[in-house]
Symmetry: C2
Subunit: 448 residues, 2 copies
C-alpha cells in the first residue's frame, strides 16, 4: 500500500503573542512572556507534540514606530530568531526550526556559520526564510538612509544564497579525518575555497563549520512579486504564500511550479505552503464569535495607521465613511508590492469606505479559516487536493491558546483522514518535508 501524499505543516509565529496585530490583548495570549524561554519552549514543544514539520519564526529588524499608535498598541518586542531557535533546539528532538534572515542587512559568512551551527547542534533541523526586508527604518538601523530598491534587493538575495550555500560546501563530507595517531585532523585536498567576488559580496572562505547534516539548511521564501517568484523558482524549497482565496492560491501554485523547469528543477523540489489562520469553534457560530473577538481587539487608530503603513501613505486625514479618493500605484513601490497589490485590488473591485478597508486590511493577510475543526480540515483538504497547496504555514490568532486548540482538534482530524503523519518518520527537516539532501558541489565534480 503506498502512503497517501502528506500535508506539510509549519507552526508560524510573527508577533510572538499571535499572528494578529493585537493578539497580545487576547485573554488566552501571554503578553508578559515574550522574551521568556519557558514561553517559547511550551509553544514549540506543543508544536512538536502536534508533529508539525517545523516551527517558523518570521522576523523584522526594527521597532514599528512610524506611528504613535504602533508603539503604544502593537507588540514591538521580539527575540533575535537564531538565538531563540538554538535554545529551542536544546529542548526538542524532531521538529524543524526555521526563521527569517534578511539578505539585505547581513553577511553570508556569518549566516552560513549560524545556520550551519544550528543545523549541527539540532541534528539537521534548521531552515531559513530568506527575506529582503521592506522598510527605511530597517535601513536606518544599519547605516543606510534608504532601503535598497526592490530589484537590487532581489539580485543581492540571489547572490547571498549562492555564496552561503557555497560556504556550506567548504568541507567535503569525509574531509575531517581526526586521526589522533597520525595527527591528521583534516585532508587539505577536501577543503574548498569559495573565492566569491560578485556585485554585492566578496567572500573567500572556507567556512569554519563542517558541512551541515542537511547539506544545506532548508531554504524558505515568501516573496510573491515577479522578482520574488523567479528567486523562489530558482532556489526555494518551501514557499510561504500569504493571503488570497482558493483561486488565487491555485494560480500562484501553478505559476511557481511552472517556472521551475527552466532552472532544471522538478516541481516536487518546492513545497508551497499558503498561510492559514485557523479560528476554531465548537460550532460555526462559535467560531465566528471568536473571530469577531479577535478583530475587535485592534484599537481603531492602530488599524488606520496599519493601513497607512501598507499603503506607504498617511490616510488618517480622510473621512472614514467614504472611499479613499485615490488608487495606489504598485509600480516603483519600495515596501511589499504584494500587499499593496492586494489592497489595490480591494479598492478597484469594491470601492469600500475607509472604515471597511481598514477592517479588511487588518485581517486580509492572515487568511482566516473560520469554522469547526472538521470544517477547517475540509478546507485544508480541498486546497491540498485541488492544487493550491502542498501544506500550510499555520498562523495562530493568539498564543499559546490557539495552537493548543489546533493540535488537540484539527491535527487529529487530519490524521484520521490519512493526510498527516501520526509520528515523525525521519529526524531532519528535509526528512519531514520529503526534500532530497543536496550534494556537495565539489565532490560532485570529482565523481562523474
Amino acid at each position: 500500500m503506498t502512503r497517501k501524499r502528506q500535508l506539510a505543516l509549519g507552526a508560524m509565529m510573527f508577533f510572538p503573542a499571535g499572528e494578529h496585530i493585537s493578539s497580545w490583548r487576547h485573554p488566552r495570549a501571554e503578553a508578559a512572556g515574550l522574551l521568556d524561554l519557558n514561553y517559547y519552549k511550551r509553544i514549540v514543544q506543543t508544536a512538536e507534540r502536534g508533529k508539525f514539520d517545523m516551527f517558523f519564526y518570521a522576523d523584522e529588524l526594527y521597532v514599528w514606530d512610524r506611528f504613535d499608535s504602533s508603539v503604544r498598541h502593537a507588540n514591538s518586542i521580539r527575540p533575535e530568531p537564531f538565538t531563540l531557535l538554538s535554545a529551542l533546539a536544546a529542548v526538542t528532538q524532531k521538529i524543524g526550526l526555521a526563521a527569517t534572515i534578511s539578505t539585505t542587512y547581513n553577511e553570508p559568512y556569518h549566516i552560513a556559520r549560524k545556520l550551519g551551527t544550528l543545523d549541527h547542534l539540532s541534528g539537521g533541523r534548521a531552515g531559513w526564510n530568506v527575506v529582503t526586508s521592506q522598510t527605511d527604518e530597517e535601513a536606518n538601523n544599519f547605516g543606510q538612509e534608504k532601503h535598497l530598491y526592490h530589484a537590487v534587493r532581489y539580485e543581492r538575495a540571489r547572490e547571498f544564497i549562492d555564496a552561503t550555500q557555497g560556504l556550506w560546501d567548504s568541507w567535503e563530507e569525509d574531509a575531517l579525518v581526526r586521526d589522533k595517531e597520525s595527527g591528521v585532523f583534516a585532508d587539505p585536498a577536501k577543503l574548498h575555497y569559495l573565492n566569491h567576488k560578485g556585485d554585492h559580496f566578496a567572500v573567500r572562505g572556507p567556512l569554519n563549520v563542517s558541512r551541515p547534516p542537511q547539506g544545506y539548511p532548508v531554504l524558505i521564501q515568501a516573496g510573491a512579486s515577479e522578482a520574488g517568484r523567479e528567486l523562489a523558482a530558482a532556489t526555494a524549497e518551501v514557499v510561504f504564500a500569504p493571503g488570497g482565496d482558493l483561486e488565487e492560491a491555485k494560480k500562484l501554485y501553478a505559476d511557481l511550479k511552472g517556472r521551475m523547469a527552466k532552472y532544471g528543477r522538478h516541481p516536487d523540489e518546492l513545497k508551497i505552503l499558503p498561510g492559514l489562520m485557523p479560528i476554531i469553534g465548537a460550532t460555526e457560530a462559535d467560531a465566528q464569535a471568536r473571530w469577531e473577538t479577535i478583530r475587535d481587539l485592534t484599537p481603531p487608530r492602530l488599524g488606520l495607521d496599519l493601513l497607512s503603513h501598507y499603503l506607504g501613505r498617511d490616510v488618517s486625514g480622510y473621512p472614514l465613511d467614504e472611499p479613499l479618493p485615490f488608487v495606489p500605484e504598485v509600480e516603483g513601490f519600495n515596501q511589499s508590492q504584494t500587499m499593496l497589490r492586494r489592497l489595490r485590488e480591494m479598492i478597484v473591485q469594491d470601492n469600500p469606505t475607509l472604515r471597511e478597508l481598514v477592517k479588511r486590511a487588518n485581517s486580509a493577510f492572515s487568511r482566516a479559516f473560520v469554522g469547526t475543526a472538521v470544517q477547517i480540515a475540509d478546507r485544508m483538504e480541498q486546497w491540498f487536493e485541488e492544487g493550491a497547496a502542498d501544506g500550510f504555514n499555520i498562523a495562530f490568532s493568539h498564543l499559546p491558546g490557539n495552537l493548543d486548540d489546533f493540535v488537540d482538534q484539527v491535527i487529529p482530524e487530519l490524521q484520521r483522514r490519512g493526510l498527516f503523519r501520526e509520528e515523525y518518520a525521519g529526524t531532519t527537516l528535509r526528512d519531514h518535508l520529503d526534500l532530497a539532501r543536496p550534494a556537495n558541489r565539489y565532490a560532485a565534480v570529482r565523481t562523474p
Copy 2:
C-alpha cells in the same frame, strides 16, 4: 563575619577540544564531537557543577589555513558562539555564558539584539568578549582585502560598544505596560532613539528587544596593547590577560586599574582574570609528565608554522639549531602586538635556537601551572593575594578530561581555603562577578 574576597573563575574554550593547538589528539579529548550539542552540554554542565562564574568561548572568523600544516593538523572547526551559548542556556541554570564578538566585522544592531535576547532567555547570564580580530583572512571573508589598521580597529571598537549599549537603553525598565484592558502595550515616552552617527556606524534604533535583565550584558576584553588597555580601562568589566609571569601580571593589573580613574571608574568595576592552564598531577613529577605529553602532541611542522604565524613572517627556511637572524619589530605590526612583543622579549633576552623558540612559543600564551592540585591552588592564591589577579580564566589542556580534573580536585581545594563559592549566591553573571547593574542612561537623566 565578613566573607573573604572571592576568586572569579571563567571556564575557557578556544579550540573546542582544548586550549593547546593539538589538544584534539589527547587520549582524553573528544575530537569527533566538536559540533555536537551533547559534547558542549557535558562541558558546561561540569563547569556549572564546579560553580564557575562563566563559560567563556573565544572565537575567530576563519579557518587558519595560512599553512598546509595548519589545515592538516590543527582543529579548524568551531561552532558559531552565540548559537552555541543559546543552546547551552537551555540546559543550565546559573553559570554565565560569554563569547567573542568581533567589532570589526559586525553591526551594533544585530549584536545588541543577539546579546539582549541571550540575556533575556538565560535570565541575565550573557557576557561578550570584545575583540577587533587580527588577520587578513578574516577581512577576506567579509568583503575586505586587508584587515583594518590597529588604531582604527580600536576606535571602531569603542564606537561599537557605545552604540550597542545605547541600543540596550532603548526601553526604560517600566516602558512595557502590556495592559490588555486599555490596549496599551508600551509607553511611548519611555522609548528612546539612539540616533547614533559616528565615524564607523549610523544607527537609529530603537532596539526591538527590551532592556536586558543585566542592563548591559557583561563586557569582557583581552587586548593588552596601549590602545587595548585604554579601551579596557574605559569600558571593560572583565579583562582576560593571557601569558606572562607573576611580575608581568602584577604590572598589568596595576596599570589597568590605575587607568580607570580618569574615566570616572572605581578599580572594583573591573575584574582582571589572567589566563591559566592547569596541568594537574597526583605528584609534581606526574604533572610534569602530563605536560610533556601535551607538548609532544604538536607535529614539528605545525609548531614551526605557528611561530611563523605569530611573527607574521615565514621562518621555515631557517636552521633549527641556530637563533633567528633577525629581531621582530612590534611597531606597525597588524596582528596581535602583545604576542609579538612577548616573542621579541624571548629573543632579545635569551637568544634561543629556532627549535627552542618554537617549543616556547607553542605554549607561552597559555600560561601553564604544572603541579598537584594543592600546588596549583597555592599559586592561584599567591597571584590573587599579591595583586596580580581578581580570579582566573581557566583554559583546559584537553576537554572534557582536564575540566573534570579541575572541578574534582582544584575547586574543592579553593573552597576549603574559603577563596571560592560553594554555591551560587545570585542568578546573573553580574551577581557572580559582583558587578553593579548599569542604570539606563535616559532614566538617569529624568530622575536626578
